[in-house]
């Protein structure tokens, strides 16, 4: 603490893991969407490795003390959220019902987009065998998908892909967390 009057670099070195954890905790709490280790490192002017270690330590701390909250990795960032097991209590307080579910058509369309992105409407039609226009509209409105530019082919059709919202909505760290489409083969007869 005596060195604090010196340069910033020295001030940084003074931070213990505990202090870093506290700062990470405050920032993750304040952020209104998942916050990346990169952003945390920039704000705190620390190495990403140090921040990553603090995040991991903080996650363990939440787990170990059986907190009502969990620090979880989602959509490439970190977020504080309530623990799954407490959903009944939380829902009772918030008086919420599980939110409106996506239609079967929308879910199918979303599945095709998630696995085939970037993908055009005609390509989705090929796989689903049915027009998906209204499903696409719903998914765009719910921000689960985004446009991904035109495909350089006849008619330059628009391409679609999944959004960050998609990852958040389905609780995914990133797209690689999706099971491979071939894994669904076993389910077919």
């Amino acid at each position: 603490m005596e060195t604090q009057t010196e340069e910033q670099i020295e001030e940084r070195q003074v931070r213990s893991t505990g202090e870093l954890m506290a700062m990470v905790e405050a920032l993750v709490f304040v952020a209104d969407e998942p916050i990346t280790v990169r952003t945390l490192a920039e704000i705190l002017e620390e190495d990403r490795e140090a921040v990553q270690a603090a995040v991991e330590a903080l996650r363990s701390e939440y787990d170990d003390r059986e907190s009502g909250l969990q620090l979880r990795e989602i959509a490439g960032g970190w977020q504080l959220a309530t623990r799954t097991e407490l959903h009944e209590t939380v829902r009772k307080f918030l008086r919420t019902k599980p939110s409106a579910k996506l239609s079967l058509a929308a879910l199918e369309t979303l599945a095709v987009i998630a696995y085939k992105q970037p993908v055009t409407i005609p390509e989705i039609l090929d796989i689903r065998g049915v027009q998906s226009a209204s499903a696409i509209k719903t998914l765009l409105e719910k921000r689960l998908i985004v446009t991904k530019g035109h495909k350089e082919t006849v008619g330059r059709p628009m391409q679609y892909g999944t959004s960050k919202e998609f990852l958040v909505h389905f609780g995914l760290k990133d797209l690689s967390e999706l099971p491979s489409i071939e894994d669904f083969e076993d389910l077919v007869q």
Binding site: F29, V30, D32, R72, Q79, L80, A81, T82, R83, T84, H87, V90, L94, P98, S99, K101, L102, L104, A105, L107, E108, L110, A111, V112, A114, Y115, L125, I127, R128, G129, V130, Q131, L140, E141, R143, V146, T147, S163, H169, F170, G171, L172, P179, I181, E182, F184, E185, L187, V188, Q189
Partner: protein, 263 residues
């Protein structure tokens, strides 16, 4: 297995599905409607029919499945369910496959590859579709789990204003709304009587009497169309030229103000 239908003529590709009576029995019309409405598309319906028949997907009894498929479509029409064109396209494809199956196969010459089964393409599509259907189920389950997790309530630092965080889709929808609004306004414009220069001068004169100082920009902002704006502009020039009105700008980028001279 095709012996029972060797006598048939090849089907015409017409969609006269209204001729026969429905064979599928349901408790009530509503229940049936529900049952039919739940298919996400023609492939979904086909998979359902194949499962109902407990048939092997790699050896689809195409004649029977086609018949049932057509019955379903006819039912949908009878129930006033809008039958998507895609269901009819599939019907045509099924009939085409059924027809091809009826044609005698050319005997294989040794060494020649086996002639492709007319059903092969359909089987491939069904298998691929079924994978995505399973993926959709996986997504459904994930979202159900995710609904058990809650993030924090709003805190002071959140912007609790009505602002939106925009995507490209917002841009295009907003633009489209503007265009249709513009169309409506043009239609109204035609009905609305055009304000003449004389009326505009009269309005401006009245305003100057009321306010003594009039911010030019504010006056222009009241105009409803480009044309009105031009008329307002000419009116300002006219009133400055002919009457005791000064144009004042207090600082370089300040408001331009019209003021009646006290003389």
């Amino acid at each position: 297995m095709h012996s029972s239908m060797t006598q048939q003529e090849p089907e015409q590709y017409s969609f006269d599905f209204f001729g026969e009576t429905a064979e599928i029995v349901a408790e009530s019309r509503d229940e049936l409607k529900l049952k039919i409405g739940q298919f996400a598309g023609p492939l979904d319906l086909l998979l359902y029919l194949i499962r109902q028949e407990q048939a092997n997907i790699f050896d689809i009894p195409i004649a029977r499945i086609t018949d049932e498929y057509l019955i379903y479509i006819r039912l949908m029409k009878n129930m006033d369910i809008v039958v998507a064109a895609d269901f009819l396209v599939m019907a045509a494809q099924l009939i085409e496959i059924k027809t091809k199956m009826l044609l005698p196969r050319e005997p294989l010459t040794p060494g020649e590859d086996e002639v492709e089964d007319p059903r092969q393409e359909l089987v491939d599509r069904l298998l691929e579709y079924e994978r995505y259907k399973s993926a959709a189920e996986m997504l459904y389950e994930r979202s159900t789990v995710e609904q058990a997790v809650f993030t924090r309530g709003p805190i002071e630092s959140d912007d609790n204003n009505a602002e939106v965080s925009a995507t490209v889709f917002d841009l295009i929808t907003v633009f489209q709304k503007i265009l249709s609004r513009q169309k409506e306004e043009i239609a109204m414009e035609i009905e609305r009587e055009e304000i003449s220069l004389a009326d505009m001068i009269k309005t401006l004169r009245k305003r100057l009497l009321e306010q003594t100082e009039l911010k030019l920009l504010e006056f222009f902002e009241e105009m409803h169309s480009h044309r009105e704006l031009v008329t307002a502009f000419i009116a300002v020039l006219e009133i400055v030229r002919t009457e005791g009105v000064n144009v004042i700008q207090k600082n370089t980028f300040g408001d331009i103000i019209l003021r009646k001279t006290s003389a």
